[in-house]
């Protein structure tokens, strides 16, 4: 494409303190490309496949790096700037690597009323990571504070990777969830 992006140095500022990270991977796999083309053909307009294609790219790359955005733009024949704009608008596209097991703790009002804030702090301490920070040194864990997961009735609500575990999560259940991750019972991130 002839739409230039700033130099690909990993030094591109998004917001103060936030930088886009590069992954070693540069291209989508042939299967992913075929999947994206199949999705694009279902819509009246190819641009509509931007969101699904970014989901696929996130699965392939592990997170939505600048290279992932470029690969999506190339696959759909769209301006890179458009894909960049979309990818940075939505919070579910992780712009930096996350752990193999990514815990998303809702701290919005209903969960907060049921003790989500101390739960988040305990989870961070237990896993040795910071909420919204980089994954643990072994790459296994990361924790993020998220907005409402629509599990208000069974608050507090915690989601691991792509599966919602919206039970009334307390400390005991957190331990069970971590143990289940260690036993490999949950789908790891990006699978």
């Amino acid at each position: 494409m002839s739409h230039p992006l700033p130099p690909d140095t990993g030094e591109l500022p998004l917001a103060p303190g936030q930088r886009l990270l590069e992954s070693s991977r540069k291209e989508l796999s042939p299967e992913a490309l075929a999947e994206i083309q199949a999705i694009a053909s279902r819509y009246p307009d190819r641009m509509a496949a931007t969101l699904p294609a970014l989901h696929i790219a996130q699965r392939e790359f592990g997170f939505v790096s600048l290279a992932a955005m470029k690969a999506v733009a190339k696959a759909l024949g769209l301006p890179e700037g458009h894909v960049f704009g979309v990818a940075t608008f939505y919070t579910m596209y992780q712009k930096k690597p996350v752990g193999q097991y990514h815990f998303q703790v809702c701290t919005n009002i209903s969960c907060a009323l049921n003790g989500a804030a101390p739960l988040l702090q305990k989870l961070c301490a237990r896993l040795g990571v910071e909420a919204g920070g980089p994954p643990s040194a072994d790459g296994k864990w990361s924790v993020e504070e998220v907005e409402c997961l629509a599990g208000c009735g069974t608050a507090p609500c915690v989601q691991v990777n792509h599966d919602v575990y919206d039970e009334f999560v307390d400390e005991k259940m957190l331990e069970e969830m971590i143990a289940a991750c260690q036993r490999g019972e949950y789908r790891p991130w990006a699978h």
Partner: protein, 456 residues
């Protein structure tokens, strides 16, 4: 891709008397039973697809009239009459043929709301049936279901249900011999509250940033992909199936005049039995909180109640007698919204609760309109200052001056939504804010609500 989820929810779906003539069960049939979703069960046990069969034998305009007769108002938040909305769709003329789209809003991002997921989890075919009826009434060619990205397992379930409907000939080409073609596509969002606003949802569906559009043109004139479109909430579309089955007039007998039918209330927060309850519109708040949800936890008193999702101005304990329908709640100065009732007990710090809500709006503002983008951030900063014990009494006047400068000055209602809880909290619980400022401490005894360190 994972298989259909087998893990049961621990939501509560019933209360004593549910399913009787007084509290009919139209939307939550079989809720709680994970084996309830297949077409076979829906058709055998829940009178499934009868409404669709009836509708497809009627003239499309007669179907719209039936929905108008039922008086159903949109369940997504604004409460706009659904039949009237459908009638705005342009009809084909000899000179001009239209491509019309039906869009189902399953973004469900409003804090306190967790009803659409219940319909998709247990009765996906009821939503599909409603969409086929709506598609027939407006003669749409394609339907989309925009589901929030976190509901991956529900998308997989909906895909399975859609395939069942296709196999049965309810979707696809020449549906039940009418010569009409219609199909439904699932579209997964990616985590943006703003995409619950209909024009932002359309932008997101088209693969753009989810920024609301300038209206007019309204979606009925220029919606998805530039074509006439109608956007309805999951609950509205799912309710169309029973409306056609039982007839619009019978549905209009439920609830109250101008606020007809049943709606699903989700009760969360400090209650003994949080859950989703289907009740006729106009049921008093007291019944919902005390009878259905088992009252406030620990025998405490309720301090504040948000009647319809986080965007609605707060009620206090004096409003327990309010009938929960669109008009009555509006007359009390709040909104019926999306039916998410959030109960806060007497030990809740209102300053913290308001700050948590405003932080959400500041985070979710799309950034397009200055009053909302800047205003929500300023409200958050001022509230954080008060919460940190560094507030000034002038801050309360500043907040009171700020909200009218955000509300009704933005393209979409997100700015107004942020002002609702802020204004009502200031009006009803001003003493708590003042105590925070003058004493630097909190009146409430409950545990902190914020993940970040604060004065508590």
């Amino acid at each position: 891709m994972a298989a259909i989820r087998t893990k049961p929810d621990r939501h509560l779906y019933t209360f004593p008397g549910f399913g009787s003539e007084k509290f009919p069960n139209l939307m939550l049939r079989g809720a709680g039973d994970l084996d309830n979703w297949p077409r076979r069960v829906y058709e055998q046990k829940h009178e499934g697809y009868l409404g669709m069969r009836k509708a497809l034998k009627m003239d499309p305009s007669a179907v719209i009239e039936e929905v108008k007769t039922s008086g159903i108002r949109g369940r997504g938040g604004a409460g706009f009459p659904a039949g009237l909305k459908w009638s705005f769709m342009p009809k084909d003329t000899p000179e001009r043929k239209f491509t019309r789209y039906l869009v189902c809003n399953a973004d469900e991002g409003e804090p306190g709301t967790f009803k659409d997921r219940v319909i998709m989890e247990y009765n996906p075919h009821q939503l599909i049936e409603g969409m086929v009826i709506a598609g027939w009434a407006m003669q749409c060619q394609l339907g989309f279901v925009y589901v929030r990205g976190e509901f991956l397992w529900l998308i997989e379930k909906m895909e399975a249900a859609l395939q069942e409907a296709r196999d049965a000939g309810y979707l696809g080409k020449d549906i039940l011999g009418t010569g009409w073609n219609f199909d439904i596509l699932m579209h997964r969002g990616a985590g943006a509250y703003i995409c619950g606003e209909e024009t932002a949802l359309l932008n997101s569906l088209e693969g753009r940033r989810g920024e609301p559009r300038v209206k007019p043109p309204f979606p009925a004139a220029k919606g998805a992909f530039g074509q006439p479109s109608t956007i309805n909430n999951v609950e509205t579309l799912a309710a169309v199936a029973p409306i056609l089955r039982m007839g619009g007039a019978a549905y209009a007998n439920l609830g109250r005049p101008k606020n007809t039918g049943t709606r699903i209330f989700g009760v969360s927060g400090h209650v003994n039995r949080p859950g989703v309850f289907e009740l006729p519109l106009g049921t008093p708040l007291d019944f919902i909180v005390n009878e259905c949800a088992g009252g406030v936890r620990g025998g405490k008193k309720a301090k504040a109640i948000i009647p319809g999702g986080s965007s609605c101005p707060m009620f206090d304990a004096k409003d327990f007698d309010c009938p929960m329908d669109f008009d009555s709640v509006r007359d009390r100065g709040s909104m019926a919204g999306s039916g998410g009732v959030i109960v806060m007990d007497e030990d809740t710090c209102i300053v913290q609760a308001t700050l948590r809500l405003i932080r959400f709006y500041a985070h979710e503002s799309c950034g397009q309109c200055t009053p909302c983008r800047e205003g929500c951030n300023w409200m958050q900063m001022i509230l954080q200052r008060i919460e940190d014990g560094q507030g000034r009494l002038e801050d309360l006047d500043l907040l009171a001056q700020l909200t009218p400068r955000i509300g009704l000055r933005t393209l979409c209602p997100l700015g107004d939504a942020a002002c609702g809880p802020m204004e009502s909290a200031l009006k009803k619980f001003r003493d708590e804010f003042e105590h925070h400022i003058t004493h630097g401490t909190c009146l409430a005894k409950g545990p902190g609500l914020l993940a970040r360190a604060s004065a508590h």
